[in-house]
């Protein structure tokens, strides 16, 4: 069996490249740097959306708000990038798409779960790992006792 990423999660060094925010996504990454998972929601029709954008695709409002999300969701898909090997990241590295409870999907990593135990539909919760530049990014781990 491959090494479990949890062994390296705690010493995930700040080698991980820091995000490159856009003007429209800056609050998401600023929130992540503080250890908060923020979601952008239309201030008028209350629809969540991700990636962030300046206009609501449902009601075309340009008013939005950033809300702290539950940080819980389910794995929609996953994979392990093997080649090219990127020394800035842990190995093995599990990449996941997570369907968050608020109805939006984000790309991230999964920790504290051996690669051969990852399943679509698995319940996960957010935590944060550091990056270069003294930032953080949201990553996930299985919700304990709730593996489905």
């Amino acid at each position: 069996m491959m090494a479990t990423p949890e062994m390296t999660a705690s010493r995930e060094t700040a080698r991980r490249p820091q995000p490159i925010p856009s003007r429209d996504s800056l609050p998401f990454w600023e929130g992540a740097a503080r250890g908060e998972l923020l979601g952008q929601r239309c201030a008028d029709c209350k629809l969540f959306r991700h990636p962030p954008r300046p206009m609501c695709p449902s009601c075309q409002s340009v008013k939005w708000e950033w809300l702290q999300l539950t940080g819980r969701g389910k794995i929609a898909a996953w994979m392990l990038p093997v080649h090219p090997r990127i020394p800035l990241f842990d190995d093995p590295l599990v990449c996941v798409l997570v369907d968050l409870d608020e109805g939006i999907r984000i790309f991230s990593n999964l920790y504290e779960c051996a690669p051969d135990q990852v399943r679509n539909g698995m319940a996960v919760e957010v935590f944060f790992v550091p990056t270069a530049g003294d930032k953080q990014v949201p990553v996930f781990r299985p919700v304990r006792g709730e593996r489905s």
Partner: protein
């Protein structure tokens, strides 16, 4: 079924391509110039005739440099199409639109790149580069910080959703690579000429994205240039080659779709852009999958062939693996795939070498010629086209 075409219908009158290699030894501008000159020679036109041009947003060549190198007098219409190889057939759509609207009468579409000896696609993309702007992909902001930095990784995670839903493993992709390498093995223009592979070769190649893609699920990285010339059916009558009619060409940019990092549409197992292409291509031409003799299906990774087959209606959702296993993609099958070997077997000129082969199949001059070709489908996801005999 055989559609009828009017005199102003856009046709492909000429094709040109350089050799396909891993190190061209010359500039991308030179590759573009050579491919365009070959396409014009093939058509019986000269650079002075050219008045329209299109390439990819991420092609490094500038139209002004091509105009001054080739000796073109004036471009009345110049465009670039987004979405990388997914948008490859959009260059045809732009050319068709320009020619049929009378905005151009000799329109060149090209792609030229040193994608193996120069800036490779298959390496890790960790910082802004020439491929991270204008391509319709969010990879740099939303995937890179999580260690997913190559096209195989981005496509692989979508593939996993499909594989999980339909109970597939990597072995289900093997027959696609084997077929494409078989086709390339008898194509002297292919990089993998005389180098077929077996299912075992595929299954013993190393993982690129586990447990999704092995090395032999990935297209090549290549150096080379490809060009085509579009004009009207009327003008093509006086030119050198039998024209390939552009029955229709279209783009597809559906809601919540991205290029390669296509993570946000609701059903990850559905090929949303391909479904829109299919609706437009079949709807506008009156053709159906039964009318297609050759499928040039954009094979950046093996899984994409499943997506094209299902979105275009050659089989139902979830049936592609069985359909492929049953041999339908063979040269004598019900829908022969890329007889030149495709992007996996011939070369990766970002989809444009699928177009030159489609034209040869319509002309009846291909090395691996399929019999009685009336209509060829070019399916690239965010763009597509159907070429027909006139």
């Amino acid at each position: 079924m055989k559609p009828t075409f009017h005199a102003k219908k856009a046709v492909i009158a000429g094709i040109g391509q350089t050799e396909f290699s891993k190190d061209s030894g010359r500039s991308e501008l030179q590759l573009a110039c050579e491919a365009i000159k070959l396409a014009l020679d093939d058509a019986g036109l000269t650079p002075a005739d050219v008045d329209g041009m299109s390439t990819f947003t991420i092609d490094n060549n500038e139209d002004v440099d091509l105009v001054r190198s080739l000796g073109i007098r004036n471009l009345r219409f110049s465009s670039r199409a987004p979405h990388g190889g997914g948008g490859s057939m959009a260059t045809i759509a732009h050319g068709m639109a320009a020619v049929e609207a009378g905005l151009s009468n000799a329109f060149v579409c090209f792609r030229a790149m040193n994608e193996r000896s120069g800036a490779r696609f298959g390496i890790a993309h960790l910082a802004p580069n020439s491929n991270s702007k204008g391509s319709g992909s969010g990879f740099l902001e939303w995937s890179m910080p999580f260690g997913a930095a190559s096209p195989a990784a981005w496509t692989g995670i979508q593939a996993q959703a499909y594989m999980a839903r339909y109970g597939l493993t990597n072995a289900d992709f093997a027959p696609i690579s084997v077929q494409l390498r078989k086709n390339a093995a008898t194509n002297p223009l292919a990089w993998y000429f005389q180098k077929p592979i077996t299912i075992d070769d595929h299954q013993s190649s190393r993982w690129i994205v586990e447990p999704i893609f092995r090395l032999l699920d990935c297209c090549q990285e290549s150096d080379g240039g490809v060009a085509i010339v579009i004009t009207t059916a009327e003008r093509a009558r006086d030119l050198r080659q039998k024209p390939a009619v552009i029955a229709h060409a279209t783009q597809a940019v559906p809601f919540e779709t991205e290029t390669v990092t296509n993570f946000y549409h609701q059903d990850l197992t559905a090929f949303d852009s391909g479904l829109h292409c299919a609706k437009e291509l079949w709807g506008r031409t009156g053709l159906s999958p039964r009318d297609i003799q050759v499928g040039m299906l954009y094979d950046h990774f093996t899984i994409a062939v499943f997506w094209h087959l299902e979105a275009m209606g050659f089989c139902k959702p979830g049936e592609a693996a069985g359909f492929v296993k049953d041999g339908h993609l063979a040269l004598d099958g019900s829908i022969p795939i890329s007889p030149n070997g495709g992007l996996i077997g011939e070369a990766y000129i970002h989809g444009m070498n699928l177009v030159t082969e489609a034209v040869r199949q319509i002309r009846g001059t291909a090395t691996n010629q399929v019999k009685n070709v009336e209509n060829v489908l070019l399916s690239a996801g965010m763009s597509g086209a159907i070429l027909s005999r006139c």
